[in-house]
Structure formats: structure tokens, C-alpha cells
Amino acid sequence: MKRIFKYLSLTKKEAILAPLFKMLEVIFELIVPLIVSSIIDDGLKNPNGTDFTYVILMCLLLLVLGILGLISAVVAQYFAAVSSSKLQTRMRMDLLKKINSLEYQELDEVGTASLINKMGNDVNQVTNGVNMTLRLLLRSPIVVIGAVFVAFFFSFNIGITFLIVVPILFILIFLIMVFTIPLFKKTQEKNDILVRLTRENLLGVRVLRAFNKQEKEISNYHKNNDNLTKYQLFVGKISNLINPLTLAFINIFIIILIYLGAFDVNVGELESGDVLGIYNLAGQILIEMVKFATLLVTLSKSLASDKRIESIFALKSHLQYSSEIDSHESPYLFEFNDVCMSYNGKENALEDISFKVKEGEMVGIIGGTGSGKTTLVNLLGHYYDISKGKIYYKGKNLINYKPSEIRKDISYVPQKASLFKGTIRDNLKMSNLSIDDETILKALRIAQGEDFVKAKEGSLDYKVEQEGRNFSGGQKQRLTIARALLKDSPILVLDDSSSALDYKTESNLRKALQELKNKTIFIVSQRASSLLTCSTILVLDKGKIVGYGNHEQLLKSCPVYQEIYSSQFHEEAKHE
């Protein structure tokens, strides 16, 4: 809510003027019943016969009021549109900036799907709610309050009656709403279950048929389906009270008004035309009350969205940082001393990791699924905090650096080869917009991608579709490798990023990488063959280092490595 007001203050003029003009419209509308009764009492019932000039004048006045009302409404709507559209832009922009500032820990917690939802649907809901509020929220209360006010013009009795009835009506509507909104939410939850079941059944149709689960699935679905229907009917019984009750209430109110009017006319307090005006006034209240109720439903939805968005803004990225320098003379680029890392604060994803890497080395990291390889390389750039131990970069503790200081030194090729919509060139220039084509082609040559890029129509101008859908897995990997090479940082990390390359291309890639001078390279892989040229290989198993050395040493001393190696090479060995 606070944030919404902050954004509205950016368009202060519009945000204030929109409801004001709306108010004008309402005031013009409220004058109508007064004029109607005046036409009858002063024009029609003129003792000298109908005063036509007066009647025509008043009817024209009604028209003028209509035009003024239209103009005010249009102006109000324009301002509301400006205000809410600008709010939408600012809110999305700030949300994106916030998301861009989150660290991996938070990104993992929130999850991609939820981020997309918040950036998209939730912002839309808030915008819609703000627009409606600026335009309508004040309308109904003003009509109603204005009607009460106008009622006092007719007579004190009538005014008092309005004053008593209106709050009662408000409370009635409010109570039913408060009661039904959570019920609707629960209906939605029950419906979500059905959607989930459908999705699961469509996705797993082969497995479910293979296990003969059709009958069971169908009867489970029916149970939930009946459950939903029953609940919908139950909620309907409550939520549908609102209209008939309001209607009955207002009509009874009208009877009372006619009676009071009749009474006042009888004693000469009112004229008979006034009763007509009062009757119309009550009718207006009825319409506005019903509108108000629908508006509140929309508002409750956008408030819920606002809350969800706020939950992102409330996230705090908390990477450890210390200005107390902890450093020592060191010949090593990286030193890991007894490092532990845990994603959830319970089990360790990495445990007691210690190793040292010199500048210019090529380090291999191998291990099974979930052994902690990706986690380990993400620690290099301080993308996650560690829970125990110390990491030194160039002899200085990692927590003494600002994360951006280390990250600019490291170039990653992530496991998932993802590209952005745009041209090949756009994708490769991600790290630096001023790179020229020659440099790009050089990087592509190292990444073994020059040939296929040149074969594409337009070469570097070739369009990449969203997520790089129009490239094969191997092509995408080579492009992401080139992209990382172009970042031109002293450290290069390849996270299992040549798995889709065929043997020959991979071996050429390895050779080309070896020729790169002054680069420290980390290669993560599941294939022992990818790491043969590494000076050091770390063997990870369930988050622990179980082997540390070069290929020959590991082959002698590390049983896990032997196992991996022989599983991939034994047939070959037999063969030769």
C-alpha cells in the first residue's frame, strides 16, 4: 500500500484531479432529482397554469448538466489512465531492479514461476485496482453521501432517515463481503487441485496407463470434483444473499420515504413533487451500492497482489561482507579451507572442501549427480555464502571483496545453455557492447562455433528465438562458451557445458582452451574424458572431496575416480 502511494505521488496532479473531477460528475448527477421536483412543483403546478419557459429552461439545464457530467467523467478517466499507467511502468521497473539485485539464495527460494507471475499478473492486478479506485472508489460513497446531503434539502425528517439507513446498508454489504471473500479464495484452492490433477494426468498419461492407474485417478478426480461443486453451491448460498437483501432493504426504505413524504406534504412541509425527487434519490443509492460491492471484490484482489509484490521488495540479500581485512601472502589464486555450504541450513551440500589453485591452472571437477559440482563453482564468485571455513582469492578473504569485484574476474558457462531473443551478435556481446565482429569470430573459433554460425543466413545477424529454440543443444553450448570467452576475464568456468558436443568437437575445444594464455580454467564434467588435460582434478562425492590430483595419480589412488573412469573406458581398454 505504501509503495502504491509512493508511485501515485509521482503523478500527484493526475492522482488528485481524477477523483476530484469524478466528484464533479457526481455532484452534477445529484442535482438532477432537485431539478426534476422543481419542474413539477414550480413549472407544472404553477398556479397560473404550466410555466413552459421554466420547464424548457430546466430541461435544458438537465442537458447542460449531462454535458458537464460527461466532460468531467472523461477528464477524470484520462487522469486515472495516466496515473495508473505510469504507476504500472514504475512498479515493474523497480520490481525488475529489485529482482536483479537478489542473490542466488533468494532467487532459489522464490522460484522463477513465481517471479514471472509477480512481474506480470500481479502488477496488472494492482494497476487495474488503482485505475478503478481513482475512477470509482470515491464515486459510490460520494453519491451516497451526497444523496444524504440532498435529502436534507427536502426535509429534516427525510434527511435523518437517509442518515440512519445508509450506514446500516453499508455495514450489511460489508459484512457479507468480509464473510464471502475467504470463501471464494477457498473455492479457488479447490479448483487448483483439479487443475493440478489434470496436468499430472496429461503429463504422466503413459506412466499412469503403464501402471493401470486410470480407474484410481478418475475416481480420485471425481471425489475432488464433487467436493468443489458442493463447495461452490455452499458459497453461492451465502454470497447470493447480498443482492436480494440490498434490494429488499432499499425498497422498504422507499416505502418509508413515501410515507414520510406523504406525512410532510399533508402538513405542508413538502410539496408533492418533492416526493418524486426523494424517490429518485433513493433509486440512485440502490444502484451505487451494488456497484460498490463489485468494486470491493476487485480491490481485494489487487490488494492481495500488492501484498505478493511487497514480499519481493521485502527480501534482503545478505551476503557476508567484512571490512576487517583478513589476508596473507599467497602464491595461490584460490584457496579453499574446510569450506562447508548448505542451502537450507540443515544438510551440507558441500562439506569440508579444501584445495588450492594457482593462476593459469586448468582444474577439473568430476562427480555424480548432486555431488555439489555446480555449488562449488558458484562459490568462486561468491554467489552463495558459505556456512563454515574460508575462501581466499589472491590471498584475501572473499568476504573482504565486494561481490562485483570478484565476479568481474570470472566468466561462467552455465550448465543450462540459454540464449536470449535477438541476434547471435547480441547474445555474444552480453558482457560488453563495444566488442567488434573480429573479436567475436575469434571467440567463436575457440568455442568451435565459427563454422555453423557462418553457415547461418546473415551469420552473426542470424536471429535467435526465445530461449534459443532454433539452435541444437550442441550449438547453444558452443555459443554460450563463446559468450563467456568474450567476457575476457582471467578465470573461466565451464559447468558441464560440453555434454552435447560430439567427441571430436569436444576434443578440439579442449585443445583450443589449453592454448589460451594466462587463463585459469575450471571444467566441471561427468565425463572423465573431458578432464584428461587438467592439471588438477577434484573428485566430488556427496559434497565431499574424495580425490585430488591429476589423472594418473587419481587413477592409482582414488577408487571413485577409478570407478568413473573404468565405467567409461573399460570396453575401450579391452578392445585395444
Binding site: G69, A80, A81, V195, R209, G236, T369, E467, S507, Q568
Partner: protein
């Protein structure tokens, strides 16, 4: 097109005849009582003439009538809403029920050839749209029609000149308002286009947040996003503005009519043409009452159209042909696992032949490995074994039973299958492994130990009771596969189908699985599809497939010495240059 769907919809709704008729009657009662109120109010007002000239007794008499109609109106409206709820919700329940059953009676051919997103939105969103649209439709259409007709009739009875004015002018106002707003609304379309662009950019950025971080791409992304956003802002100011125009326009035109009616009313009263102040009051409220249904109906037309489109999609789906019934077929008991493939041919489409004249005799207990490049027909072969698809020609015999002569369920329960795409669903890990069948936790743990997933499961906070979310949880692809393997481990069916099951599990784990599979495969007929040749080294027969044909057959050694396609395949994937 919409007409026939409407008829079908009414037929389906007609199954609740009682409720459908109730809706009609209740709508009528509601309209009559709503319209009666202004008449009595008008009559009462006419009796309020001046000082000491008010006929209180008759006024109270009219009040009594009003009271009756108020009660009648409120009760009928409430009952009407409940009736419509019943009609719509039980209809959408039936629709959901039928579509869900359809999932399991459609041939896989249909499901495979339609994108998941499309099917899912038919089954879920479409039905919601239909039920919302239908509810609005039922709540407004009968009331609308009745009140238009009745208002016209009553107005003509009261005074034909005034009636004519209202009847002609009111709909005109609505058409003008709609016409104006529609023509101004071209911005709506461009708003939708830019919004789509923005949405896909958001998706891209959110999906690749980590890449953005790796390349410090935040600023560039924010600039690009700002550019899209400012374009959107410009258009959406206009679109939002114009979208809100019809309401004030209608109000304006109505105010013209209002003034006209008052003026004519005054004329009629002055010249004593059978009109009164009370009648004027009645007419003024009838003007509102009469324009309301036009307003309501025209504002819900898009929703109703939308609902009909969705309904068409659902009906299309429900009309799809089911799998051929196998109710009268024999049920296959536990088999030994002798499979004879007798000259089968199969193709998905007529133009593209896939498997042609394949004959193969698989003795019980043997291991058949299927090898070949992507799209060579391995998956198809499995589809045929499991009878997910039926062969076009030839027979597949299991223990001498033609699989077309037995029930699909009894055939499939003799197979254990691990697919390329792992399937985990919402529920605990335990539930995901038992799939609701009766197995003890000990049996499950035993199976998980054998398939090497016990270790990581027991590390989880809630162990086997850990809840897996809709997206399959935080498991790696390999771990998911291990869980699917445990499902089979638990059941020990006589025949196995392993469809690239180990392709994304790291080699070490793969070895372990291989060992436990060897245990499982003992004396069982198994078909293994794998890209990794190491997993099929100890197969009895290797079928080398290419373009739907089995081009080579034999053991690993035999095939290597042949120096054919298999030899090439093997070398391109496995020889290591040291």
C-alpha cells in the same frame, strides 16, 4: 457454428429440466415484482396531493402490495441465483468429469499430437470460462428478455406516447455509445501486442536470472525493459482511457432521454392527456429499468462469446474417438515373457513409413537392446509393445497371446517401464513410489536401496514423507529417474522396458543402477533403449535401428566385427583420444 453449440448446450442443461424450468419461472416472478413496485409507488405518490389532501388509507393499501412484491422479488431473486448456480455448477462438474475421463480413454495418438498447454487449457481454463459465462448468461438473459417485454407492455398500457419515446430512444443510446467506443478502441489491440512482447521478455529474464548475474547484464536488461515499458505506457494510457468511455457516454445519452421524458410528461399532464405525476415517476423508473437489460446484456456479450468458443473446443475434445474398447477381451495372467513379433508394420502417418515387416523372436529372460540415432523408431517400438499404439499390420504375441486379443491393462501390468521423461507428481515420495498401491514402507525402502535412491531420500528433512511439489521438487534429473526406477523395483513385473532411463544419470550412478538392474532383469524379458552403449554391453541381442528399420542384429562382439553401422556408432561415441 455457434448455433449448434448453443443447441447442444441447452440439451445438456435440459438434463436438469426441473431447474431449467424453475429458472424461467423465477425470472418471470422476479421481473414482475420489480416492475410492479414503481407502479404502486406511482399510484401512492399520486395520492399525495397537498396539505390535508393525502389519502393515507389507500396509500397504506398500496404499501401492503409493495411489501408483498418486495418479499416476492427478494425471494425469487435469491432462489433464482441458487437455481442458476445449481444448473451451472453441476453442468461444469459433468463437463470436467467427462473431460477427465476422456484423458484416459483417448488414444495416445491424440494426446501425443496435441501440445500439453493446449490440452491443459481446454481441461481447466476453458471450463472455468464456460461456467463463468454461463452463470452470467443465465442470471441475465431471462430476466433481461422478460423485463424488456414486460416493460414495453406495461408502458403501452399506461401511456402509449411515453412508451413509444422510451422504447425507441433507449436502445438507440446504447448503440451509439457502443459504436463510438468500439471505433475509438484500436489502441486496445496495440496494447495487447506490446504487452505480449513485455511478457516474453519478462519470462526470458526471469528464467535466466543466473546468466544475467554471471554477465552483469542487469543494466542492459533494465534499459531494454524500460524501452518496452515506456512504449506500453504510452499505448496503455490511451487504451485504458478509451476502454472506460462507454459508461459516461451511456449516462450522458440517458440524461438526454431523461430530460425528454420529463418534458413530454409535463406536456401530457398540462394538456390533460391522461397523465399524472405518479405516472411520470413510474416512467422515469421504467426508463432505467428498461435500459438496464440492454446495458447488462451488451456488456456480457464478449464473455458469452468467449464461453461459446471455449465450449466448442471442449465439445470437439469430447467428440474425439476413444481407444477401441477391450472390455470383452481376455485378461492376461502373469506371463513368462516369451515375445514373438510377427511381421509387424507401423507408421504414424500414411505418408511416412516407420517400422516395416519387423520379425523378432524374444525368448523369456533375454535382454534386447535397441540402439540407433534419434528418431530411428526405438520409442515407437516401445509404444507398440505396450500397446500405446496399435500395429498397422502383423501381430505381437506374448506367451502366444496376440496382444490385441487381451485387455490393455492386463498386458501393461506385465511390463515395468521407465521412461525418458521422468514423472513425479504432487504428493510424498512414498506416494510417488507406491502410486497408491498397497506396499509397506519397508518394501519401498528396500526397493529404494536397490535403486540407489535411499541415500538421498533419507537425507531429506522428512525422508520418505517429503512432499514433492507440482514441478517435481528440487531433485536433479538423475534423482528423479532413480525414483521412477524404484517404482519398478517395487513391483518386479516379468517384462521390462527401459527407455533411455539412464541417459542423464552420471556414469557412476548408472553403474550402480546397472548392477541392480542386472538383479532385476534376471529371468525377465527386457527391452532397453539407450544412447550410452555401456548400459547395453551385456545384452543378449542388440537391435540396431535406423529410419524405422532394424538394420543390424546380434551381440556387441558380433556387431563390432561386422564393422557396419553399429561399429561406426560405437566409435563416434566411445573411442577416446589420449
Amino acid at each position: 457454428m455457434n448455433k449448434s453449440i448453443l443447441i447442444r448446450l441447452l440439451k445438456d442443461l435440459g438434463k436438469d429440466k426441473f431447474f431449467l424450468i424453475s429458472t424461467l419461472i423465477l425470472s418471470l416472478i422476479y421481473v414482475v415484482s420489480t416492475l410492479a413496485l414503481p407502479i404502486f409507488a406511482g399510484l401512492a405518490i399520486d395520492l399525495i396531493i397537498g396539505i390535508n389532501n393525502v389519502d393515507f388509507q389507500t396509500i397504506f393499501y398500496y404499501f401492503a402490495y409493495m411489501g408483498i412484491f418486495i418479499a416476492l422479488g427478494a425471494i425469487s431473486q435469491y432462489l433464482l441465483n441458487l437455481t442458476n448456480n445449481h444448473l451451472v455448477y453441476s453442468y461444469s462438474r459433468r463437463l470436467r468429469k467427462r473431460s477427465f475421463e476422456k484423458i484416459h480413454s483417448l488414444p495416445l495418438k491424440y494426446l501425443d499430437s496435441h501440445p500439453l498447454g493446449d490440452l491443459l487449457s481446454r481441461f481447466s481454463t476453458d471450463i472455468e470460462v464456460i461456467s463463468d459465462g454461463l452463470l452470467i448468461f443465465l442470471n441475465q438473459i431471462f430476466i433481461g428478455v422478460f423485463s424488456i417485454i414486460l416493460t414495453i407492455v406495461v408502458m403501452f398500457i399506461l401511456n402509449w406516447i411515453m412508451a413509444l419515446t422510451v422504447v425507441i430512444l433507449t436502445p438507440l443510446s446504447l448503440f451509439i455509445a457502443r459504436f463510438i467506443s468500439k471505433n475509438l478502441n484500436k489502441y486496445f489491440y496495440s496494447q495487447a501486442v506490446i504487452k505480449g512482447e513485455q511478457t516474453s521478455y519478462i519470462e526470458e529474464l526471469m528464467n535466466n536470472q543466473k546468466v544475467v548475474r554471471y554477465f552483469e547484464y542487469e543494466n542492459k536488461a533494465e534499459n531494454d525493459f524500460e524501452e518496452i515499458s515506456s512504449r506500453l505506457e504510452e499505448v496503455s494510457i490511451k487504451a485504458t482511457f478509451f476502454a472506460a468511455l462507454p459508461n459516461p457516454l451511456t449516462r450522458f445519452i440517458n440524461s438526454i432521454i431523461y430530460a425528454l421524458i420529463i418534458f413530454i410528461g409535463v406536456l401530457l399532464i398540462t394538456f390533460n392527456l391522461g397523465f399524472s405525476i405518479g405516472l411520470l415517476n413510474t416512467f422515469l423508473s421504467y426508463t432505467k429499468e428498461y435500459s438496464k437489460p440492454f446495458n447488462d446484456i451488451s456488456s456480457v456479450i464478449p464473455e458469452i462469446q468467449n464461453a461459446l468458443t471455449c465450449l466448442k473446443r471442449i465439445y470437439e475434445l469430447l467428440d474425439e474417438k476413444n481407444e477401441i474398447s477391450d472390455q470383452n477381451n481376455l485378461s492376461l495372467k502373469q506371463v513368462k515373457g516369451n515375445i514373438f513379433i510377427d511381421d509387424i508394420s507401423f507408421s504414424y502417418t500414411k505418408s511416412q513409413k516407420l517400422i516395416e515387416h519387423l520379425t523378432l523372436n524374444v525368448k523369456k529372460g533375454s535382454k534386447v537392446a535397441l540402439v540407433g540415432p534419434t528418431g530411428c523408431g526405438k520409442t515407437t517400438f516401445i509404444n507398440l509393445l505396450m500397446r500405446f499404439y496399435d500395429v498397422n499390420q502383423g501381430h505381437i504375441l506374448v506367451d502366444n497371446n496376440d496382444i490385441k486379443q487381451v485387455t490393455r491393462n492386463s498386458l501393461r501390468s506385465n511390463y515395468g517401464m521407465v521412461l525418458q521423461d521422468t514423472y513425479l507428481r504432487y504428493g510424498t515420495i512414498l506416494e510417488n513410489i507406491t502410486l497408491g498401491d498397497d506396499y509397506s514402507k519397508e518394501e519401498v525402502i528396500e526397493a529404494c536401496k536397490k535403486s540407489n535412491c535411499h541415500h538421498f531420500i533419507s537425507l531429506l528433512k522428512d525422508g520418505y514423507d517429503t512432499l514433492i511439489d507440482e514441478n517435481g521438487g528440487d531433485f536433479s534429473q538423475g534423482q528423479k529417474q532413480l525414483i521412477s526406477i524404484a517404482r519398478i523395483m517395487l513391483r518386479e513385473p516379468p517384462m521390462l522396458i527401459l527407455d533411455e532411463a539412464t541417459s542423464s544419470i552420471d556414469t557412476r550412478t548408472e553403474i550402480k543402477i546397472q548392477q541392480s538392474f542386472d538383479l532385476l532383469m534376471k529371468d525377465k524379458t527386457s527391452f532397453i533403449v539407450a544412447h550410452r552403449l555401456s548400459t547395453i554391453m551385456n545384452a543378449d541381442i542388440i537391435l540396431v535401428m535406423k529410419d524405422g528399420h532394424v538394420i543390424e542384429q546380434g551381440t556387441h562382439e558380433e556387431l563390432l566385427s561386422k564393422k557396419g553401422f553399429y561399429y561406426e556408432l560405437y566409435n563416434s561415441q566411445f573411442v577416446i583420444n589420449q
